[in-house]
Amino acid sequence: MARFSFLEWPVVRQLRTADSTARSSATVSEHTRELTSRNATADRVVQSVCPYCAVGCGQKVYVKDEKVIQIEGDPDSPISRGRLCPKGAASEQLVNAPGRQYRVLYRAPRATEWQKLDLSQAVDMVAERFIESRRRKWQDQDDAGRRLHRTMGIASLGGATLDNEENYLIKKLFTAAGAIQIENQARI
């Protein structure tokens, strides 16, 4: 706290400055003057797009020490002009949600609880099951002898919250594997 000065009395400031109605700088305390936006301390700002609905509002992601510290609307976006709705405005909390999971979990058959599992091992286990289920439920041809070349043992649901590039790889891999029951929210 700076040393007390009569010149800092609000009423004196009101008379001294152009703010004669005391609705602006005359009422701002020193504490408030010393505050800075947390965004101003960010190491960098990255342009992004809101992940909720399909309007596609522009977002600015503020990063400090490799952590997301805030996400705000991007005034440059001709779609959203800087605005975000309650969900978009809360999306920093999506990244830093208290219930967010950071580790792979596995529930064994008939188990009552999760157990931890190494990521690489988990991917291997899925690859193994993928190949087995694919083979077990494989169909070469239909009753009329027409080629099917497909598996009915594997299904997938999801994509509307994912990137185009991700959907592309998902569809490409599943189709090459002969899996056809690939769906997303667009059907729902």
């Binding site: 342009q47 099951r129 790889l169």
Partner: protein, 906 residues
């Protein structure tokens, strides 16, 4: 939308579900536009509107059909536009019979299959050979390639198959007979007039519960705000799609907008307000069973060669850009299988698996319950809460051998085995569930780079802000790695079934974290030259795509997003430095055009319809199309051009054929092919309805997809015994502060606090009738489930007079689910829903259902199941209830029995 003079929002609560997009509606209103909200509920959208028109959910085709009738009978259609740009003057087969003739069915209905043969809906055309004009049984490729729609339909059995063609609809005859006077009774125009003649203001009052004064206001508003100088825009969301005839809701609006001349023009059109960040993208590059990228269909078993397949999409003789489907197909196959795709192996066409019917998410659900599906990936979605008939969803998961859930947190689809509703009711025991569950934590939108495609087809690149923490991965990284591991395990396989996996192009550059480069994937999607001096260079336009293997591209409609090696999805010239088209912010498919079919914004001579509504026009001096948007038309095709006889594809487009993806270049008032449930929209009642169909003896859509099972019972509709047991309508919806099934919102303390608990909206009249108290509890019971919700009594819910009775509608948000992991939980509205589908797109009817409502909380444990069963028994429900296809008692038609094998206990 900001350029509209009138905006009708129907089947959408835009202010709450797309709040930031809604600023453009507000802009239009500030400029003097009239805003009308047609909706069962008074919402925040209504609060901004000039007028609220409450409607009985599911009756929209009556209202829109009556508007069509109003426009036709008052001679308010945009004559020059309709004559030049639509198929109004085309002649339809003399075999065609309308719903007016057949008590609510069209000609071609087969009650034994529940499907239509669309042959009699086809255009009349001059015979080019001795084949009958409606020869629907020709096999593809057998017909010597006449420009004959049915010869190229590719569906040997002649059935209408909606999922089989791309965005431009199916092949159709390019040179049909026409009557320019529009007087011939076989013209589309006269058929349309007759079809909607009984859709009157009185019928709207009867069916929709809308007063004649409100109808008149709506009709005057849209007609006074259409024409050369003015445009009207419609906006819809899932309030239109989630019905057993959802696709026809949108068709009705399309007919109306074509008659009013509002398509392809600024401030016109029909805006689909989509609900997920890339739900448009995941349709363009589809994680959908029926499509390949760019709206190419997945092949069906009967299309045994690549020629069959391409012939089923389009004939070389038809007009427009679908005639180049061979190029799009070959380039896709080259992108996926590289050198393994060669002319002598049909470009690896046999590497593609084949469809034998619908394999949508609900068909797959029944396959899971039958133990036919072993493994299930759930990717950023929460079907235990978000899909219809939640109990069936969760029970199906208990039948799986293994499942993978990839999400940010432990959503209900990951935890149903330990704390789902069926554990509490005793229907499932954790210790007896064999399903293995893998939970993989996902990267958020700021922890990966890539594109979303938003609701107006605009691709926007997101830059990566930080690396994913812990085990969190993007789908890109996960699936790339999974693909590598699968290929590694199979690398020594000699099994021909494994060749498509081993020959797959699956080699992407990775970053320091080992994650694949999303830009390299986008470059593959865009496509590149494979031969010649430009070898390796990106394609800049879909017009460069070739059918000879000299190009590759993963999604033809996205070609150009990476033109010249520049990521145009990342274009970010600030909006304030651009005009309102803002062409340098992101990239819209196709070819960065912002308004589709914008050739129609100019008159047949190429001049804007008015100065006020100009967008693109013909520049006579420069001999090309120009304007504020990129012309969606061959740029040098002069307005008066008549395409030479015998030409096909883009060359066959006349100067006044603005609808360049349609086989005839015209906007379709009447759909001669492509819709499986009729060439014109007709009103049918929902699967569960409190009234009889006031228009036809036929009550529901006779082609809707049924799931007659004990775990998916249907409430009896009006006039059927037991109807009094479930007397009230309910409709489901979203709130601003939550997102779909809650996976991205109920875990956020801010949002959980803003909308903490499940509630139901009821009118004061219904509350009085059932003794419900404000802020008290209510239990809602449908034939599928019973749930509890807090009671919100509000005049925003309006009892309507329809079918000679008072119809009460209950509003239910669907964001909550039963589990222990979220900040807030609650009963799931979607548990109440049954599964009955639209036959065109296989979407469920989730906007209308029947239920009972009573005060108090629901029972716990096994007593909950007992309550649902007691209701079912009191109503006398069986799997047959409500699942008749044809409901005209005056006619003796078979087809009321259940098809064999459709019953199940789940």
């Amino acid at each position: 939308m900001a350029n509209a003079d009138c905006i009708v929002i129907q089947g959408s609560n835009m202010a709450e579900c797309h709040p930031v997009g809604f600023q453009w509606v507000s802009e239009a209103k500030a400029r003097g536009a009239r805003i009308i909200h047609v909706d069962p509920r008074f919402t925040r959208t209504t609060a901004i509107a000039d007028k609220h028109v409450p409607i009985r959910a599911g009756s929209d085709v009556v209202l829109l059909g009556a508007l069509i009738n109003y426009v036709l009978t008052h001679d308010l259609w945009f004559e020059e536009y309709v004559r030049a740009y639509t198929n109004a003057s085309f002649l339809i087969s003399e075999q065609f019979r309308d719903t007016e003739d057949l008590e609510g069915l069209f000609s071609g209905y087969d009650p034994s299959t529940g499907k239509y043969d669309p042959a009699s809906w086809a255009y009349q055309r001059e015979r080019r050979d001795s084949a009958p004009e409606d020869a629907q049984t020709d096999r593809p490729g057998d017909a010597g390639a006449p420009s004959d729609a049915s010869a190229h339909d590719g569906y040997g059995d002649g059935e209408a198959e909606g999922e089989s063609h791309g965005s431009g609809g199916p092949p159709a005859a390019s040179e049909p007979l026409r009557d320019e006077t529009l007087q011939d009774p076989s013209t589309v125009f006269q058929i349309l007039k007759r079809h909607y003649s009984r859709y009157t203001a009185e019928m709207v009052r009867e069916a929709c519960g809308i007063s004649e004064a409100d109808f008149e206001y709506l009709a005057r508003s849209i007609t006074e705000n259409s024409g050369r100088e003015r445009t009207t825009c419609f906006a819809y969301a899932v309030g239109w799609t989630q019905h057993t005839l959802g696709a026809q809701f949108i068709r009705t609006a399309s007919i109306l907008q074509l008659l009013l001349g509002n398509m392809g023009r600024p401030g016109g059109g029909i805006m689909a307000l989509r609900g997920h960040a890339s739900i448009q993208g995941s349709t363009d590059i589809p994680t959908l069973f029926n499509l390949l990228p760019g709206y190419l269909p997945m092949p069906k078993a009967e299309l045994e060669t690549v020629q069959d397949y391409i012939g089923a999409i389009a004939s070389k003789q038809q007009k427009g850009f679908w005639a180049n489907a061979d190029a799009y197909t070959v380039s896709l196959l080259k992108a996926w299988w590289g050198d393994a795709a060669q002319p002598d192996n049909d470009w690896a066409y046999d590497y593609l698996p084949r469809l034998t019917g619908a394999h949508g998410t609900y068909q797959t659900l029944t396959e899971m319950l039958a133990d036919e599906v072993e493994g299930y990936f759930i990717l950023g979605q929460n079907p235990a809460v978000g899909s219809a008939n939640g109990r069936m969803q969760r029970m199906a998961m208990s039948h799986l051998k293994w499942m993978v859930v990839r999400d940010f947190s432990l959503i209900e689809s990951a935890t149903w085995w330990k704390d789902g509703p069926e554990i509490d009711s005793g229907e499932l025991r954790t210790e007896e569930i064999d399903t293995e569950v893998f939970f993989f934590p996902a990267a958020t939108h700021v922890e990966k780079a890539g594109t979303f495609t938003q609701t107006q087809r605009l691709l926007q690149w997101r830059h990566q802000a930080v690396s994913p923490p812990g085990d969190c991965q993007s789908e890109l990284a996960f699936f790339y790695e999974l693909g590598l591991r699968i290929r590694e395990r199979l690398k020594d396989s000699g099994d021909p079934r494994d060749r498509p996996l081993l020959d797959l192009t699956w080699d992407y550059p990775v970053d320091d974290d080992g994650d694949p480069d999303a830009l390299a994937v986008l470059a593959e999607i865009n496509g590149r030259h494979l031969t010649g001096p430009d070898r390796g260079k990106p394609l800049s336009s879909y017009t460069q795509i070739k059918a000879d293997g000299s190009t590759e591209g993963g999604c033809w409609i996205y070609t150009g997003v990476y033109a010249d090696g520049v990521n145009h999805a990342a274009d970010r010239v600030p909006g304030q430095e651009q005009d309102e088209i803002a062409a340098k912010w992101g990239w819209a498919w196709p070819a960065n055009r912002r308004i589709l079919y914008n050739r129609a914004s100019a008159d047949p001579q190429g001049k804007p319809w008015s100065e006020r509504k100009k967008l693109v026009w013909w520049d006579e001096a420069a001999r090309k199309w120009t304007g504020d948007d990129i012309p969606d038309f061959p740029v040098d095709r002069a307005p008066g051009t008549e395409a030479p006889d015998g030409s096909g594809g883009p060359d066959a487009l006349d100067g006044d054929d603005p609808f360049i993806m349609q086989a005839d270049g015209k906007g379709w008032l009447f759909a001669p092919k492509g819709m499986v449930d009729g060439p014109l929209p007709a009103h049918y009642e929902p699967q569960e309805s409190p009234v009889r169909n006031p228009l036809y003896a036929q009550q529901p859509n006779a082609t809707r997809e049924l799931f007659p099972r004990w775990d998916n019972l249907t409430a009896a509709s009006r006039g059927v015994p037991g109807a009094e047991v479930y007397p009230y309508m309910f409709t489901t919806y979203r709130l601003t502060e939550q997102h779909t099934a809650g996976g991205m919102s109920r875990w956020l303390p801010y949002l959980a606090e803003l909308q903490p608990e499940m509630f139901c909206e009821v009118s004061p009249e219904l509350a009085a009738e059932r003794g419900l108290e404000q802020n008290g509890w209510a239990t809602l019971v449908s034939p599928r489930a019973a749930i509890e919700a807090k009671v919100l009594i509000t005049e925003r819910m309006t009892p309507l007079e329809s079918g000679g009775r008072t119809v009460h509608q209950i509003g239910l948000p669907y964001h909550w689910g039963v589990g222990r992991e979220a900040v807030v939980s609650g009963d799931a509205a979607n548990d109440l829903l049954g599964i009955t589908l639209d036959p065109n797109v296989h979407i469920q009817e989730s906007k209308v259902g029947l239920c009972d409502i009573r005060p108090g909380r629901r029972p716990r444990g096994a007593a909950l199941v007992d309550m649902v069963t007691e209701y079912q028994q009191r109503a006398g429900l069986t799997p047959q209830t409500g699942n008749e296809r044809v409901t005209d008692p005056a006619r003796e038609l078979p087809g009321r029995e259940l098809p064999a094998g459709e019953e199940g206990q789940g």
